[in-house]
């Protein structure tokens, strides 16, 4: 995999026109596979993420679980969510899910973002924030179905998981994948990971008694470039609030495709209208006005 090829931009937020060079070469879509059934909650991926991305120390917060903190932060992009799910027989199923950016095929953050080039989607599926173009409006926060983008008040910019686009661009796997000791995390092409995930789900259904085991790759946002294998794919909510049917608010679609171009033009009619009024109808003057020149003189003026 050539390094340049993987960083071909596919979509740019708030940008007029197409992404230059898109479609010239064919790119393999990358994917992270998280098999929640073999995660042991060691948090090696959390540490690897903080270390590789060289982020400052984030204070932890105890909330009666093994979780490092209640949710991801601007300087803590990768969080294992611990959930205790009561089974019908009274025992408890301990669910651990690695929470991070899902790198949606149709990213809500990118749809909502007004800033030119603040969010880009690479042809390999990675959705990346370009902080130098970010204006800190936080609209991506409301556009995201997974509550991933986090605002840093000090820099007034928003941050999130990059899927280690810097590493992937050099042909390396993301830091979290490299750190995982159990093989719960895998990285490869979307097709390969989807195949592995489906095989694993089938194995869970047939050999381990998890009848509802399945793969989480929500099609409501065109699929994601992080897929989960879940013991019970019928209720992803129990895995720390993974939405069963993630959607982008419709208002962002209306706003982007209707309001901005159509109503923006409409507002300019006010300017065009008054200019035309002045040169056609003309101003209304306080009365009485000076009398007009004689008929014969008018054409000279």
């Amino acid at each position: 995999m050539s390094d340049r090829k993987t960083l071909q931009i596919k979509q740019i937020s708030g940008h007029s026109g197409n992404a230059p060079g898109y479609g010239v070469q064919r790119d393999a879509e990358v994917c992270k596979l998280v098999d929640t059934t073999i995660c042991i909650g060691c948090k090696a991926c959390e540490v690897a993420c903080v270390e590789w991305n060289d982020m400052p120390f984030a204070t932890t917060m105890f909330d009666n679980t093994y979780q490092t903190m209640p949710e991801t932060r601007w300087n803590f992009w990768n969080l294992i969510k611990f959930n205790e799910h009561p089974r019908e027989d009274g025992t408890v199923q301990w669910l651990m899910r690695k929470d991070q950016c899902m790198h949606c095929a149709d990213p809500g953050c990118l749809r909502a973002c007004p800033a030119d080039g603040a969010i880009v989607q690479y042809a390999n599926g990675i959705v990346d924030f370009q902080q130098e173009n970010c204006i800190g409006c936080e609209f991506c926060v409301s556009g995201c179905p997974f509550d991933i983008p986090k605002f840093n008040p000090a820099t007034k910019k928003v941050y999130k998981c990059t899927l280690c686009s810097d590493r992937v661009g050099q042909g390396l796997e993301p830091a979290c994948i490299k750190a995982c000791p159990t093989g719960c995390l895998k990285f490869g092409t979307k097709d390969d990971m989807k195949y592995v995930a489906e095989e694993r789900a089938k194995q869970l259904r047939e050999n381990f008694g998890f009848e509802k085991a399945g793969v989480y790759d929500p099609q409501s946002i065109g699929g994601t470039h992080v897929v989960y294998v879940l013991h019970d794919a019928s209720d992803p909510e129990r895995y720390g609030g993974l939405p069963a049917n993630p959607v982008i608010p419709w208002s962002y679609t209306i706003w982007k495709w209707l309001f901005k171009p159509v109503l923006g033009t409409f507002a300019l009619f006010g300017l065009v209208g008054v200019l035309f009024h002045y040169v056609t109808v003309g101003p209304r003057r306080a009365q009485p006005e000076p009398p007009l020149k004689e008929e014969g003189d008018v054409h000279r003026g």
Binding site: A112, P114, F259, L263, Q287
Partner: protein, 247 residues
Amino acid sequence: MSTAVERFDDKARETFDRIGHTEVHVGELLRHRVYTRFLHWMVALFFFLALFSGFGIYLPWLFRWFTPIFGGGPLARAMHPWFGLGFVIFFGLQTLNWIKPMTWTQADSRWMRNIKQTVGGKEKMDPPDTGFFNGGQKLQFWEIVAGSILYLITGIILWIGADTFGRWTVAVSYVLHDLSALVMLGGIFIHIYLSTIGEPGTFHAMTRGTVSEAWAWTFHPAWYKEITGRNPEQACEEARRRGEFSK
């Protein structure tokens, strides 16, 4: 309106008349007192600060050249709500100040029905029952009142963010906030045009507070009649006979 508001307005008007003053020359009428003018220009200042900082958030790929004025995109975004708050506060005071002359009347409904004639320049003078403000001015005023309420509610939601109000509330507020801005943007062109080159002589009312008598009997005949006690048509006719022409 309640007397408390009236007492507040009267006190503010008197205080501002002591700070500044309005000279009414011969042939002129007092139109806007110092307090009204002060509020108008504060509203205008905050409106344009909010508008230009908002442009950078609305369409950066087209209006990113506005944001350096405010120190870049993030700072423009951070200051925009404060500009908006200033706009709402001063326009709120102006609403209290103007609530009486802006009350809608039968004459305004007639003025609106007659709008084609007025805008088309078919009639030289406004209808004889046009008071201190005409129907068009009142329509724009009440549009800004409604728009400001919408601004304030949606603006606070956008300011505080999705963590408090939920992502759907923010996403819908976003569209409503922009809708209100676009309506006002369309309106500001008309407002500036009519107060400057569209109806010459109007601008002076908001700068030094006075208008010529000719301006008054032409555009607001009923107001002219109310304060001078003279018939506007007749006054205009007399001026014509004397050979006085407005500039």
